[in-house]
């Protein structure tokens, strides 16, 4: 707390709560780079900072860096709120995160290969077979299929939080179609344009390699024997909330953005419709959920997918990234077993550990959860986006009782975790610069090997005291700086 006393200027009124603060309460003497950012920020005038923040928002809006909400017939473009104060990670912190993410991705890919082939991990009783084979995301069409390089999860997002001691904990894996990476790149561009004086002279790891790296990885996993593979990005189209990100990534990679109707399958091969007729496609970065990929195999009503795509995939004529059926690995119930999964396949201790998790499908887990619900976060295992969860300490007695009933009725649908004292980061708020909770989603790209984009998406819960960082629920983003030294 003595550091708060030292803070001045912009941070004079910064009321550091009793959490790990990424910038002002780290419990150590900050490395020089971090100290420099802090000193420079402290000299900023609040009005000046607000002026720049307003310019950022206008710029995002004009550029159409938005997520789109469709109501009735009107497209409403909304800008993800962006905070002009960056979140800074030291080289040592990043080294730890990077190795932790790589380890986790390696384990997830081995796990997926195993459960779709010999199922050793289930036979050895490390993970309950029912949890995997009975999982809604377990995909029969993947059984026995060999994917190029054994890579199932080419793009992975790992949601991390930091506890009171600044320790990184994994909150969630996103192994299906993780989104948000476009904000990382756009935030950086915006940041360097509007706050050049803050970044000047600092050795910040660049993020603009993401497009070429992803393209290379997608080409590496194309079917063997293809000289210069045609990679495309398959999007649900302009009505999808993440359409901007799809556009962004297609442009960064220099590949066509296609919709299901642009693709066709003939004789087990995939083609795209061009003005010169059908042209072969070899590698598909799909931003379409499993259920919509192929009406012949999954949801027969889907107009977004490509009939015959799964057949072409099974024949090895096209690669899908991510593979089908990866959702079983990022399931919140399977998540609880991830430390054991890492040990099982890699014979290593997890570099980054999980948040302590109670599995309500297991008797002890359920009983513990029911007995301690007012101190726990209870999450439904099937949902994403922060929907349907209960934060015990913030809930009323009625809400707690209701949730207990839900738990008893369908225990297997829930896990619970202690409330983590999420780290905070100074954030420009209506009343001045205040502490707001943040998380971090690094993105890992896997082709022949795994590369982690330096930094990742720092999401910030803009409401005071809130722990929910999701964009759909009042979250914003911050630029994440990884210092090279």
């Amino acid at each position: 707390m003595n550091m708060a006393a030292q803070a001045a200027g912009l941070f004079a009124t910064y009321d550091i709560p009793d959490f790990f603060c990424e910038l002002l309460n780290r419990g150590d003497i900050p490395p020089p780079g971090l100290q420099l950012v802090r000193d420079r920020l402290a000299r900023f005038d609040l009005a000046e900072l607000r002026r720049r923040a307003a310019a950022v928002e206008a710029q995002f809006y004009r550029l159409g860096i938005t997520f789109t909400v469709y109501s009735d017939r009107e497209a409403i473009d909304r800008v993800l709120p962006f905070d002009v104060i960056p979140r800074v990670l030291t080289a040592a912190e990043w080294d730890h995160v990077e190795r932790g993410v790589q380890q986790r991705v390696r384990a997830i890919n081995l796990f997926l290969h195993d459960i779709y082939h010999d199922r050793h991990i289930l036979n050895d009783g490390v993970v309950p077979a029912s949890l995997v084979l009975g999982n809604a995301n377990y995909c029969q069409a993947m059984v026995g299929l060999d994917v190029p390089g054994g890579v199932y999860v080419h793009i992975n997002g790992t949601d991390l939080v930091r506890d009171r001691d600044g320790r990184f904990l994994v909150l969630e894996d996103n192994a299906r179609t993780p989104s948000g990476v476009s904000y990382v790149l756009e935030d950086r561009q915006m940041m360097l344009r509007l706050m050049p004086d803050l970044a000047r002279g600092l050795n910040i790891r660049p993020v603009d390699e993401y497009g070429p790296r992803l393209h290379r990885a997608l080409a590496e996993v194309a079917p063997t024997g293809v000289d210069s593979p045609q990679v495309v990005l398959l999007s649900p189209g302009i009505y999808n909330a993440a359409y901007f990100e799809h556009v962004f990534l297609a442009r960064e990679m220099g590949i066509p953005l296609v919709e299901g109707r642009d693709l066709m399958v003939e004789d087990g091969r995939v083609y795209m419709r061009t003005v010169a007729g059908p042209r072969p496609v070899h590698s598909i970065y799909r931003r379409l959920n499993d259920d919509f990929l192929d009406p012949q195999v999954f949801n027969p009503d889907s107009m977004l997918g490509v009939p015959g795509l799964v057949d072409a995939y099974r024949r090895g004529n096209v690669t899908l990234a991510n593979a089908i059926g990866t959702g079983v690995a990022d399931d919140k119930a399977v998540y609880a077993y991830m430390p054991r999964i890492i040990r099982y396949y890699l014979d290593e201790e997890p570099i980054m550990t999980n948040v302590e998790t109670h599995i309500c499908a297991e008797r002890e887990g359920l009983e513990y959860t029911l007995a301690n619900i007012e101190r726990l976060v209870v999450k439904p295992v099937g949902e994403s986006g922060g929907y349907g969860l209960l934060i015990g300490p913030h809930a009323t007695q009625t809400e707690l009782d209701e949730f207990r009933a839900l738990l008893r009725a369908n225990p297997a649908n829930y896990i619970s975790q202690p409330v983590i004292s999420l780290s905070v980061s100074p954030t420009l708020c209506p009343a001045g610069v205040e502490a707001r909770h943040v998380d971090l989603r690094p993105f890992a790209v896997t082709g022949r090997d795994t590369w982690v984009l330096p930094g990742g998406l720092s999401r910030v819960a803009l409401r005071k005291g809130s722990l929910v960082v999701n964009s759909s629920q009042g979250g914003g983003s911050k630029d994440t700086w990884v210092l090279a030294s």
Binding site: R273, T274, G277, P278
Partner: protein, 346 residues
């Protein structure tokens, strides 16, 4: 007629072929923007040229040029300035209104965002938002001219940004194709309706008529000064029609538009080796020949309306054939011939 290629060969050989859906959207993006500009010109000129005598005369021809009699008179008793202007600028229920077309243009641009420049998107996005916010107070008599000027300028800005930023590949050619097909269509509509509105039946060429109305026809096509330069003494209806149809130097004449369409199709067939171009090229060539081989007097004598009508039908046919050639609803790998075989991997 000299053939000037304003469409240089692409810098990089072997560029990827354009996705059919992109080609379609590119074409419609430019068609809508061209149509908005033409409509804004027409509204502006109509509002200034009718005000002298009868405030509401001339507005019905705007409706007829756009063939919107059905929709318009469902909701309005009479074609007054107020009703027509609202109908064509801010009425979101009218698919031919500027607000509707701006939205269609932006939706097409949204599809094309992987392809077009950020500047193109940003301008269209801001433009469309501005148009969508226009209300009845913005289109009142005192504001109309300024409003039309801004609309026109925004279209021109769009064309300028596109010219300066859009990569010169197939997408650019489809963009130019759409723009000139639309221009050709618009100029024939304008001539057809105005000629018969301003020349009551039975009055021959050269009769004593109100030339100020004809001046406004030229102005609505941005042709007034160009015409003066070419034919300083020849302000007759026939000369004006002839100028708008056949002048090869005037950027909005039918002959100029057809020449551009012809040249683009030639590039698609030649530089990009796209198939199915030949019948389309033939059809465009036929249009150009009929235009070049007749004097405007011949055309008027044989029936201007019939000729304009035929050209419009041919232009629609060209659009249909382009759609069929480049974005067919159903296509098979087998049906597209040996061209694709070299692309296949085994």
């Amino acid at each position: 007629m000299t053939q000037v290629s304003v469409f240089p060969a692409p810098v990089m050989p072997g560029l990827r072929n354009l996705l059919s859906r992109y080609a379609e959207s590119t074409m419609w993006l430019s068609r809508y923007m061209e149509r908005i500009e033409n409509l804004a010109r027409l509204i502006e000129v109509t509002s200034t040229s009718v005000s002298a005598t009868n405030l509401d005369a001339g507005w019905d021809s705007v409706i007829r040029i756009n063939a919107d009699e059905g929709l318009f008179f469902q909701h309005h008793e009479a074609a007054t300035e107020r009703s027509v202007v609202a109908f064509y600028i801010i009425d979101a229920n009218n698919p031919d209104s500027i607000v509707s077309m701006a939205r269609y243009a932006r939706e097409n641009a949204r599809v094309l965002r992987p392809l077009i420049s950020t500047e193109m998107w940003m301008h269209l996005n801001v433009f469309t938002r501005w148009v969508m916010e226009l209300g009845p107070n913005d289109v009142g008599a005192g504001y109309l001219s300024g409003l039309c000027t801004r609309l026109k300028q925004d279209c021109q800005t769009h064309f300028g940004i596109t010219e300066g930023t859009l990569y010169r590949d197939q997408a650019w050619l489809f963009y130019i194709l759409g723009k000139h097909l639309e221009r050709a269509d618009q100029i024939t509509r304008l001539i057809d309706i105005k000629y018969h509105t301003l020349l009551p039946s039975g009055v021959g060429v050269g009769s004593d008529i109100d030339m100020s109305q004809w001046t406004s026809v030229l102005r609505s096509a941005a042709a007034y000064h160009a015409f003066r330069r070419v034919l300083p003494e020849g302000m007759t209806p026939a000369n004006i029609v002839g100028f708008l149809l056949k002048n090869d130097g005037f950027p909005r004449s039918l002959s100029t538009s057809l020449r551009s369409v012809y040249s683009v199709m030639g590039s698609l067939a030649g530089e990009y080796r796209l198939r199915h171009c030949a019948p389309i090229i033939e059809r465009v060539e036929e249009l150009r020949v009929t235009l070049a081989e007749q004097t405007v007097e011949d055309i008027i004598m044989r029936g201007l309306h019939e000729y304009m009508d035929w050209i419009q039908r041919e232009l629609r046919q060209i659009q249909n054939e382009i759609a069929h050639a480049f974005w067919p609803p159903a296509v098979s790998v087998q049906s597209t011939g040996p061209g694709r075989m070299e692309q296949m991997q085994d």
